[in-house]
């Protein structure tokens, strides 16, 4: 049996800055994951990923990452994605201080 689809967000790194960004429902790339569009239908998720892939002038390597609905918007489910929303743990650099 195919695995049940779990909600996703589209994420990538920005071409110029290289930082992590997420795709919003309006088709904008945001550095704040909570503004991302939470995709709970597989067909729609694939479509959004295709849209993202066509935006090669803005981002690099878009992919679908697992997420869940949180109080302020989508939240990551895996620690790797959590780190991408935050930055490194050894310095106060990246999104933990920039957002």
């Amino acid at each position: 049996m195919p695995r049940k689809f779990t909600p996703k967000v589209v994420t990538a790194n920005r071409l110029l800055e290289g930082d992590a960004v997420w795709l919003t429902a309006e088709g904008r790339w945001t550095p704040d994951m909570r503004e991302a569009e939470l995709l709970d239908e597989e067909a729609h998720a694939e479509l959004r990923l295709l849209t993202a892939q066509s935006d090669a002038a803005t981002v690099v390597g878009p992919y679908l990452a697992d997420a869940v609905a949180g109080a302020q918007g989508p939240e990551p489910t895996h620690f790797r994605e959590t780190f991408r929303t935050r930055g490194p743990s050894n310095y106060a650099h990246g999104k933990q201080v920039e957002l």
Binding site: L15, L16, G18, A20, F79, R80, F83
Partner: protein
């Protein structure tokens, strides 16, 4: 030290110009990412979790002070004020913006540095003993060989698309500080029965998911044959190496699957072709390079300042006992500057620290610096009378930690704090272990102990050859740390054995503490190191202290 000639300068400048054009074409859309990616990787530019990362080669870990100042400039002007020195004697910048990278490469080119072949399936930066040219125990300086190999391998047309990356390390001493047995080719300078200098060559060592110790392919290769023989090895690998599966593409698998004998035959077949093609220009070139590595003019001076400080100042004495190594020249010492201050990130230096080190190299160090694969900075030639002044300056800048070779002198890869390949974090584990042992005030009693941490199976943190190795993995969506014991990266190299089930992020530091405290009880005397005790006793008593619940269960079962 080697200085770029006109050819080197023109070549590196041309690559900077090319890359500038490539970046422009990617930004204006004329290059797709698929087209651009291999081009940026050829120039050391990766895309990581939070940003781009630029990996700059430091050939055989040797820098002059102007080059160090340029590394500081890059950190300050185009990054976030620091750089990360790696286990391959490189430096990585974690935050460059794509548009700035050509300028960074230009600044590097201006002082004879580049990022070429710091990625991709090519021959990477050739590494060497970080005490090269200074160590009391070396037969010859390995750096002229490493420089010859650098010139030969850079842009070598036959070796730009090898089955997989290729790493070479050179040592000039029998005591191996360059981990040559864990390299694709390991080179040891040796003397034969006639007193002639030549090279013992090893192949097929490597860490990563299939760790292997290198095997001796030739006991003695003469100077005349060195380059043709290395070319024959890489050519044989280029043909025989697997391209169907990237996990089986390194030369260690080629040698393992074909057998050393068959691989040696293939190399000899290639050698019959390569040897006549080398006209002897390589030997002439080697002599020219070697002349550039002539030792500096040693100074004769009284040692009173050193002796007085050693007698009077406990901090200085502790640092001198821990961070100095015997130098070949009378009155000199090799200074290892620790980039492992307790709680800091292993291998990181701020721009200011880099400048201070450059200034100290100018003042007291014959203008030379080294980066060790253990992620520290070396001032290879310091007269002992200058050490008190040097130490005082290091202290002002957080660079006087007296922990070289001790528990807190931990190798750690960037791990999942930065690296896109990582499966768990390494840096916080290293920071916490160091802080814990600082708290216990035990590390000088514990003595030599190498802890090495990798954040994934690719083993950039050399965990397989750590006396205690730690491998960070993702177990069902949670960071988990596996412990290996008894590894070693020196001339007695061995691959550490997995101790048992992994530990959570909360459990790993107490687990290491149990191990180290357990060792103190197990050792036969304070002179028996952790590794020696492990080799004498085997894993069982170490596992007992690492897994006390299992041990308790076993005891209960025995009693029943």
């Amino acid at each position: 030290m080697y200085h770029y000639n006109d050819f080197d300068r023109a070549f590196v400048q041309e690559r900077v110009n090319q890359f500038r054009g490539q970046v422009e074409r990617r930004i204006d859309g004329s290059l797709t990412e698929d087209e651009f990616r291999p081009l940026r990787l050829m120039n050391g530019l990766y895309l990581q979790l939070h940003a781009y990362m630029l990996r700059v080669a430091i050939p055989y870990g040797t820098l002059n002070s102007d080059q160090m100042r340029t590394l500081a400039l890059l950190a300050e002007k185009w990054d976030r004020g620091y750089g990360h020195f790696t286990t391959r004697q490189n430096i990585q910048y974690n935050w460059p913006a794509l548009r700035d990278v050509p300028e960074m490469l230009q600044a590097l080119a201006d002082v004879g540095l580049h990022a070429i072949q710091t990625s991709g399936n090519t021959i990477r930066n050739v590494t060497a003993d970080h005490f090269a040219g200074a160590a009391a125990d070396e037969i010859a300086d390995p750096r002229p060989v490493a420089e010859l190999l650098r010139q030969w391998s850079t842009d070598h047309p036959e070796f730009q698309f090898l089955p997989r990356k290729f790493k070479i390390a050179v040592t000039g001493a029998a005591h191996d500080r360059a981990v040559i047995q864990a390299h694709d080719i390991g080179i040891q300078i040796v003397k034969n029965a006639h007193g002639e200098i030549g090279y013992k060559l090893l192949v097929g060592g490597g860490l990563g998911r299939t760790p292997m110790i290198g095997k001796v392919i030739e006991e003695f290769v003469s100077q005349d044959d060195l380059l043709p023989y290395c070319e024959a090895i890489v050519a044989a690998y280029n043909l025989l190496g697997r391209r169907d599966n990237k996990y089986k593409a390194r030369i260690k698998i080629t040698v393992f699957e074909n057998g050393l004998e068959a691989f040696r035959d293939a190399v000899n077949e290639q050698f019959a072709r390569t040897k006549p093609a080398f006209s002897g220009v390589d030997v002439k070139l080697f002599e020219e390079i070697r002349a550039q590595f002539a030792p500096p003019a040693w100074r004769n001076a009284p040692l009173k300042a050193y002796d007085d400080a050693y007698a009077a100042d406990a901090l200085f004495r502790s640092w001198a006992d821990t961070n100095l190594t015997a130098h070949r020249a009378e009155g000199y010492a090799i200074v290892s500057v620790s980039l492992k201050k307790h709680g800091e990130t292993p291998g990181d230096a701020t721009a200011e620290q880099m400048r201070v080190l450059a200034d100290l190299a100018d003042l007291y160090g014959h203008n030379e610096l080294r980066i060790s694969h253990e992620q520290n900075v070396i001032l290879p030639h310091v007269h002992k009378s200058d050490l008190p002044k040097l130490h005082a300056k290091l202290r002002e800048h957080g660079l006087a930690t007296a922990n070289i070779g001790l528990v807190s002198d931990i190798i750690a890869c960037p791990g999942m704090d930065y690296c896109a390949l990582a499966t768990a974090r390494s840096i916080p584990v290293a920071q916490q272990i160091a802080l814990r042992f600082e708290e216990l005030k035990l590390e000088h009693d514990v003595g030599p102990l190498k802890i090495k941490i990798s954040g994934c199976i690719n083993a950039c943190g050399h965990h397989h050859v750590g006396h205690i190795g730690i491998l960070g993995l993702d177990r069902a969506g949670v960071e988990n740390y596996q412990v290996t014991l008894g590894g070693s990266g020196d001339e007695t190299a061995s691959i550490g054995e997995r101790a048992g089930p992994g530990f959570s992020a909360e459990e790993i530091v107490p687990a290491v503490e149990r191990l180290v405290l357990g060792y103190l009880d197990l050792r036969s005397s304070p002179d028996e190191t952790f590794l020696a005790a492990y080799r004498r006793l085997g894993p069982a008593p170490f596992k007992s202290v690492l897994y006390p619940e299992q041990e308790a269960k076993r005891e209960r079962a025995d009693a029943a």
